[in-house]
């Protein structure tokens, strides 16, 4: 079969987004009580994963810094934020939403530099949803009595977020917390602190009262200090299941309310009557969006045997058109792996896939010599018993399995400790609804994948965590409840 491949007859010239729009300082402190302070701990470096260039030195908050931040949050909660009317809180959140829109390009470029994700994603997905999230929850602030969860905030929220969607996860955490009247201490991931620090600046521009939002940078120890701080009333975490379990243990016996959004190993199920071209797009979007650094990534392709060959053929052809490289190039589809550590994990698990007898196929492309890169990859001949079908790789690696009947598809899809998301592709309406009912996952994308919206609750079953973010349901995590 002849597969036309692009030749240099129409090679796109580089189209880099200007980096001049962002102003990265050589060093950053902690944002506590409305001001940047030096902190008492050491510092760490954040690098551009596409080039390994050191971007800035960032303060590492120690226990005393975290304590300062919690105290500032408590003061702001008691004296200002919990006393303010919902309507007034709303206006601050609307302000923040607007400033995010105004500075959208700057945030997008900074996110791509610090995270490695393609500019077209940070520009067209992350940042617009961030603004939308603040806009959505701003509107709830003075309508909580209609939420079904009461109107009483919890107090100080300690929030720890991951590196895959740094600013978006910040928005998912801060917007509902503030709308409900809580104050926050948030720790961005150690490899991606810069947009959170820019967000701190946006809080200043919005004249948000000091202490309502505190950003403390650091690694695991800083996170632990937040989670276990006795004056934190609420813990919200997005990240690995392993750390999620540690947090659940750490808060045991306390009054802290907890929400956890953790790992996944989503099945993307393609039936023989699926709209195949769109299904192929959905598979690609499901696993290669954001380099596969997505907790709800469709990392297990379950394809009906009768169309498996055809789907794979189309998928490989489509993967061959993915453009990998400079995250700031507007034509880049797949950017850099976020860190050397993550790259190592992806490589290790892929090697396990080889060793277990799965067949590896990857896009032939020249990888840049510097930075952290992994080509879009798929494994065929994978069975449920393989580690690459069970463990979260969190990278651009797809495991392909087949099934024969709807029941087999459901069994395989549910045969995992995770339960975050799932995909179903079929043209038959009743089958979609049946599959959606039977899949044990918090989000089911039918004939689409990786869609997010501020109004739509997101979160998992089983070991993918508990609680929902987004929508009316997202308020529950930050209110005492109608019965209290």
């Amino acid at each position: 079969m002849s597969t036309p491949t692009p030749t240099n007859v129409f090679e796109y010239a580089p189209a880099p987004e200007s980096r001049a729009i962002v102003d990265i300082k050589p060093s950053y402190g902690l944002f506590i009580n409305g001001e940047f302070v030096d902190g008492n701990g050491t510092s760490f470096k954040t690098v551009n994963p596409a080039t390994e260039e050191v971007l800035a030195e960032v303060a590492e908050a120690n226990d005393a810094d975290v304590d300062e931040a919690v105290k500032a949050a408590r003061r702001a909660y008691t004296r200002v934020w919990s006393r303010m009317s919902g309507a007034e809180r709303a206006k601050y959140l609307y302000r923040i939403a607007r400033i995010i829109q105004e500075r959208g390009r700057e945030l997008a470029v900074l996110e791509s530099i610090d995270n490695g994700k393609p500019i077209k994603e940070s520009r067209d997905v992350d940042v617009p949803i961030v603004a939308a999230h603040f806009f959505y929850y701003a509107g709830w602030a003075d309508k909580l009595k209609y939420s079904g969860y009461g109107e009483t905030p919890l107090g100080v929220a300690g929030q720890v977020i991951p590196w895959n969607f740094p600013l978006l996860m910040l928005a998912w955490k801060i917007a509902p917390a503030l709308a409900c009247g809580n104050t926050v201490v948030l720790k961005p991931a150690e490899t991606t602190p810069l947009t959170a620090l820019l967000f701190a600046e946006i809080c200043q521009q919005a004249d948000l009262p000091p202490g309502v939002v505190n950003i403390v940078t650091g690694a695991g120890e800083t996170g632990r200090a937040i989670v276990s701080h006795p004056d934190v009333d609420k813990v919200a975490f997005t990240g690995s299941t392993e750390v999620g379990k540690a947090i659940a243990r750490a808060v045991a016996g306390s009054d802290k309310k907890v929400t956890l959004e953790l790992g996944g190993k989503a099945a993307n199920i393609v039936f023989d009557d699926a709209p195949l071209d769109q299904a192929v797009e959905g598979i690609v979007n499901g696993i290669f969006f954001n380099q596969g650094h997505v907790c709800c990534a469709g990392s297990r392709l379950l394809v009906q045997e009768s169309v498996a060959d055809e789907v794979l053929e189309r998928l490989k052809r489509r993967m061959s058109t993915l453009r990998m490289g400079d995250p700031l190039d507007k034509n880049t589809d797949v950017g850099a792996i976020n860190s050397g550590e993550q790259l190592k994990r992806i490589r290790e698990l892929s090697e396990v896939g080889d060793a277990e007898g799965a067949e590896r196929w990857e896009v032939a492309c020249d990888l840049p010599t510097k930075g952290f890169w992994f080509p879009p990859t798929l494994f065929t001949g994978v069975s449920q018993a393989h580690r690459i079908a069970r463990e979260e790789i969190f990278g651009p690696v797809l495991s392909v399995l087949t099934f024969r009947t709807p029941s087999e598809a459901v069994e395989k899809a549910n045969n995992t400790p995770f339960g975050l998301s799932a995909g179903v592709w079929t043209d038959k309406g009743s089958r979609i609804l049946s599959m959606a009912n039977r899949l044990r996952a918090g989000v089911v994308w039918a004939n689409t994948f990786n869609k997010f919206d501020p109004t739509s609750p997101f979160g998992g079953y089983k070991e993918s965590g508990y609680g929902r973010e987004g929508g009316r349901h997202g308020l529950e995590a930050y209110l005492k409840g109608a019965d209290q």
């Binding site: 007859v9 010239a13 077209k120 709209p275 195949l276 071209d277 769109q278 507007k330």
Partner: protein
């Protein structure tokens, strides 16, 4: 540049391969309805995604010249005159009289009664004459009249025939009627010397309404031996869109995989700017590959597009923005 009227992949229809399918109304229907469905939202999202590609510098210069070479410069008005057609033909040969490096368009596209005039002006310039036939644009006439319309245009010297399908028959499920009609029109494209005018099959996708229908029509026309599949007459809104063209590009891509034969695609109507044209070229490139980046396999049916391409071309060479006063109105 010299657009050639003979396809590189053999001028036989795909008969043979599809004998079983086109053997009966029911087998044809089964086949067309067995094609994978199209999810509207997903298809439109993919088209929109491709439209965000950023094309710069040398790639853009290449794309603009390629787009000019792909234009079927079109006038299909009741008020068309021989003078208008002569002017259009002149422009097709030398789009930018001030710049001899500017390529000619692929063809001019006119009503059958204007073919002779166009042919006379174009001579052996290499610019083809395309004629809309078969009771364009509605296609509502008796079969023998449609065939006479076609023969008339071919006799007058048309290199290419743009026929319309019977949308009424298609929408009422009489696929075999549509199939037979294409086959017969194709036969009417034959010249006494044994050569044949190229057949483009217009679906009027705005009337077919769904992408599923567009995909089915594409396969129907390809199986019947159409050399090109074309979106629209330009007389019905919506005319060409990126997603509808995407569906047709996927169809020709898949058809080639099954038969080895290439079929061309022509979006027509509503493509007015260089930016639009480049989006189409990106889509061609990423859906079918560079084999289709050729006037033999991809055309734009357009009238005002050419001047915008010329203005952008001038901007690329001079570094300043041009204005409409510097290009002819024809």
């Amino acid at each position: 540049m010299t657009p050639t009227a003979s396809p590189t992949a053999g001028d036989t229809s795909a008969h043979g391969v599809f004998d079983d399918i086109v053997g009966s109304e029911s087998s044809l229907r089964r086949f067309l309805h067995g094609l994978p469905g199209v999810d509207q939202v997903g298809c439109e999202a993919r088209a929109a995604g491709l439209a965000t590609r950023s094309i710069k510098t040398t790639s853009k210069a290449f794309a603009i010249d390629l787009a000019i070479r792909m234009v079927d410069l079109t006038t299909l008005e009741g008020q068309d005159t021989h003078g208008k057609v002569r002017a259009l033909a002149s422009k097709a040969m030398r789009p930018d009289p001030a710049d001899p490096s500017c390529p000619a368009t692929a063809a001019v596209c006119v009503y059958p009664d204007m073919v002779a005039t166009a042919k006379q002006t174009l001579g052996d310039s290499g610019v083809n004459v395309a004629a809309v036939a078969t009771a364009f644009p509605s296609g509502r006439a008796a079969m023998d009249i449609k065939l006479a319309d076609t023969r008339d245009a071919v006799e007058a010297g048309a290199d290419e025939i743009d026929m319309v399908i019977d949308r009424g028959a298609f929408l009422s499920g009489r696929y075999m009627d549509v199939y037979e009609e294409i086959v017969q029109v194709k036969e009417a494209c034959a010249r006494p010397d044994g050569s044949s005018a190229h057949l483009k099959v217009i679906f009027e996708t705005g009337e077919l309404q769904t992408y599923d229908n567009v995909r089915r029509a594409s396969w129907l026309a390809m199986m019947a031996g159409g050399h090109f599949i074309k979106t629209s007459t330009g007389k019905v809104q919506p005319a060409a869109t990126l997603p509808v063209t995407l569906i047709m590009l996927e169809a020709v891509r898949d058809f080639r995989e099954q038969t080895g034969q290439m079929v061309g695609v022509k979006p027509a109507g509503g493509i007015k700017t260089t930016k639009d044209a480049i989006k189409y070229l990106v889509m061609v490139n990423e859906t079918c590959g560079s084999d289709w980046l050729d006037p033999d396999w991809f055309r734009f049916g357009a009238s005002t597009l050419l001047n915008d391409l010329l203005m952008q071309r001038t901007k690329m060479t001079t570094g300043r923005y041009s204005g409409p006063d510097y290009f002819t109105l024809d």
